[in-house]
């Protein structure tokens, strides 16, 4: 049977049309942002520059694509439509009459739908892993920089140990199917995921220890919510069944957190060493504040500028790491629609068909570019102050 095709112009229009929820959401986002720009602080300031607007636009685009993926994508990302095998862009699927906007891949799946659903995987894992790495790096980096001495030597040695590993070797050792039979990923997850709970408990305790009523509520909430997520992620035993993670995803998550925490540690340690010499730290010490109070409520807030920039860059770097994992077929399921796996599958057949390779490549590149632009705009604004 002969496939029917639509022209390039219609593909373009069709693609723009399919993304309508994203355009709508972006329009609302920008309208609100510009309306309340004065009151939005740093975020409002980065909208003054072209680079910042571009960054917000691209990141927002992929964020909303991930949220509305079900509406945008016309097909199931895992669904196979045999007649559409290697179909060129613009081919019309005879049964539903829908268009394969970017063509079909070698397993006859819709490249466009896979690209859209691929953004979901990136959007969930990359920011979450970065936040966990931030928690681990901050909780260890602050005392290392603040106290110095033996703690610093020991923690820095550990961080350098991890940093001396080439990332790819680390992934090959940590993200193999075999390792999921051992307790290693769960032990590591157990260690890493306890850090946010420790962090928030210390944060509230140091500030509100003289107001036991408020403190009890805060610590209680932290332990309750933290413990709930902890149980779901590490032991896969969420009593409500909402927080759940598949073993291979947990493995990836842990490996990515492990690989990026030492970087955060180094930055936080450096900032903490720099800031502890400031006058307001000396003032707090004179007031008789505890070391942890100074670290969490004096040093950390003043280190936020470089940290926010670093988080932006790091989410991008984590996206690249996820792509690397997908490219080497580590951890993620072989039919998973994430961009790295899609690039791996299509780059092998590049000589025959190029159209399945380009959408995931452009998607990954544009998202990381958006994050880097955002980081650049943030850096420029925080330097201005």
């Amino acid at each position: 049977m002969q496939l029917e095709f639509v022209g390039w112009f219609q593909i373009l229009l069709g693609t723009l049309w399919r993304f309508w929820p994203v355009w709508l959401a972006l329009a609302v986002l920008f309208a609100l942002s510009f309306a309340f720009k004065k009151r939005l602080g740093l975020y409002g300031q980065i909208l003054d520059t072209g680079v910042g607007i571009a960054g917000v636009f691209i990141c927002g685009f992929w964020l909303f694509s991930a949220i509305f993926a079900g509406t945008i994508a016309p097909f199931n990302p895992l669904g196979q439509y045999p007649i559409m095998k290697d179909a060129l862009p613009g081919a019309i699927e005879p049964n539903s009459g829908q268009i394969f906007l970017f063509g079909g891949d070698t397993l006859a799946r819709d490249v466009f739908s896979r690209m859209v659903f691929g953004s979901q995987i990136v959007m969930i894992i990359a920011p979450a892993a970065t936040l966990f790495a931030l928690m681990v790096g901050t909780t260890l980096g602050l005392p290392a920089g603040f106290f110095g001495g033996k703690i610093d030597t020991f923690l820095s040695f550990l961080a350098n140990l991890v940093l001396a590993f080439p990332v790819i070797l680390l992934f090959y050792l940590l993200v193999t199917p075999g390792i999921m039979e051992t307790p290693i990923p769960y032990t590591m997850a157990g260690i890493f995921f306890i850090f946010p709970i420790i962090f928030f408990c210390t944060l509230f305790y140091t500030r509100y220890s003289h107001r036991p009523g408020l403190l009890a509520i805060q610590i209680g909430l932290t332990v309750l919510i933290g413990g709930w997520i902890y149980a779901g992620l590490v032991f896969n035993a969420d009593p409500f069944g909402i927080v759940a993670i598949r073993p291979n995803e947990l493995n990836i998550f842990v490996a990515v957190v492990f690989a990026s925490s030492p970087g955060v540690f180094r930055i936080v340690r450096g900032l903490s060493m720099d800031i502890k010499t400031r006058d307001y730290v000396a003032a707090a010490q004179t007031r008789g504040e505890s070391s942890w109070y100074i670290m969490l409520w004096e040093v950390l807030p003043n280190a936020r500028g470089p940290l926010i920039v670093d988080v932006c860059l790091r989410i991008g770097y984590t996206t690249i790491l996820l792509g690397t994992l997908g490219y080497f077929g580590l951890g993620l399921a072989p039919e998973s629609p994430d961009w790295g796996t899609a690039i791996k599958d299509s780059s092998r057949l590049l000589r025959a068909y190029i159209h399945p390779a380009l959408p995931p490549v452009v998607a990954l590149m544009s998202f990381v570019l958006g994050l880097n632009l955002l980081a650049d705009a943030l850096r420029e604004q925080s330097l201005k102050d």
Partner: protein, 344 residues
């Protein structure tokens, strides 16, 4: 200075011991050993058969003893055949059939079970091939990125600066597996100028036709980062008092940049370039797999894929050594180049 170097070397040795211990532990996990046994004997071997093979080959000895054997401080025991007589563990590596001290310290990296040869036979040629690739990457990457950085940082805030900055941000957002695909599509599939595979580089020698794409792909990711560091360093130098003095005494802009600014602006990029090596190692793996070039990265991936214990250990040792020694060189070089910083 000498004590500093000695202390750094000591820390380096300690780091290497710790890291190889970790790698040794991870490759010797039970599922990995079983995978190795299955690939070495029969795929449908019984549970008992696997266990007896692992015992006979010495994989069941205590962890630290085996690590000591690999290092070369404990005697390596020969394997036992079915009857219990000592035989060479891997015949294709001509391993001795009597106990000997034969580990990394003695220069014996062991035996690769995937390639059926000694690790040294496999690893050193692969490293040589990767060395050639790295050399060309450096030849392309360093001058291009320094030039971009200097031109961008020379006059901060101009249109050239902004264009070059956005361009370098774009390249840092392009990991090797992305740029590799884009370049292959453009230069190999579409224009047909270059070969999309470097497999012929190993057999027939390197040519512009088969080697440009891998080099380009690897260089592009690093260029943006180094260029941005150079730009930042250049911008900082250009605001210094002595640059203004040089301008005020009537020197031309070009001469100020070349004679006064460059020497100080290039100190920071030097360390950045040296610290790029860990990233380049990851890039090497991706590029060599993508373009089928038989180098270090290719060997590492096949070793990891088949759980080739000795080869994987050798490869990690080499890569960790490269990373640590470049860090040391970068620190020493920085102290040497920058007279304001002297190591205590």
């Amino acid at each position: 200075m000498l004590t500093f170097i000695l202390r750094r070397l000591g820390v380096m040795a300690l780091t290497m011991v710790c890291l190889t211990l970790v790698v040794f532990y991870l490759v010797n996990l039970e599922p990995n050993l079983r995978r190795l046994a299955l690939s070495q004997i029969d795929m449908r071997s019984s549970e008992q058969h696997i266990e007896s093979w692992l015992t006979r080959m010495g994989y069941r000895e205590p962890f630290l003893v085996r690590y000591g054997q690999w290092i070369g401080v404990v005697q390596k025991q020969p394997a036992a055949d079915e009857a219990g007589n000592p035989v060479s563990r891997f015949r294709y590596c001509t391993e001795p059939s009597e106990p000997t001290y034969s580990g990394v310290l003695q220069g014996d990296f062991g035996c690769s079970t995937t390639f059926r040869t000694t690790v040294a036979d496999r690893l050193w040629p692969a490293l040589g091939a990767t060395g050639i690739l790295m050399f060309w990457v450096m030849v392309v990457m360093v001058p291009v990125s320094l030039l971009i950085g200097i031109f961008a940082g020379m006059r901060e805030g101009t249109r050239t600066d902004r264009t070059l900055s956005v361009a370098s941000i774009t390249t840092t957002a392009t990991p090797e597996y992305v740029s590799g695909v884009i370049f292959t599509v453009v230069f190999a599939s579409w224009l047909g100028w270059l070969n999309g595979s470097a497999a012929t580089a190993t057999s027939q020698g390197i040519s512009f036709y088969n080697f440009t794409l891998p080099v380009m792909t690897m260089a592009i990711y690093g260029i943006g980062y180094i260029a941005r560091m150079t730009r930042a360093s250049m911008v900082e130098v250009m605001t210094q008092q002595y640059i203004r003095t040089a301008r005020l005494k009537g020197l031309g802009f070009g001469s100020v940049v070349v004679k006064h600014a460059l020497r100080n602006a290039l100190i920071a990029p030097f360390t950045v370039i040296m610290l790029q090596f860990p990233w380049l190692l990851t890039g090497v793996v991706i590029v060599e797999v993508m373009f089928r070039y038989q180098g270090f990265g290719f060997t590492l991936v096949s070793a990891a894929g088949n759980n080739d214990i000795d080869l994987l250990l050798g490869a990690s040792l080499v890569s960790v050594f490269v990373v640590l020694s470049t860090q040391l060189i970068s620190d020493l070089g920085y102290a040497y180049l920058n007279p304001r910083i002297r190591v205590q």
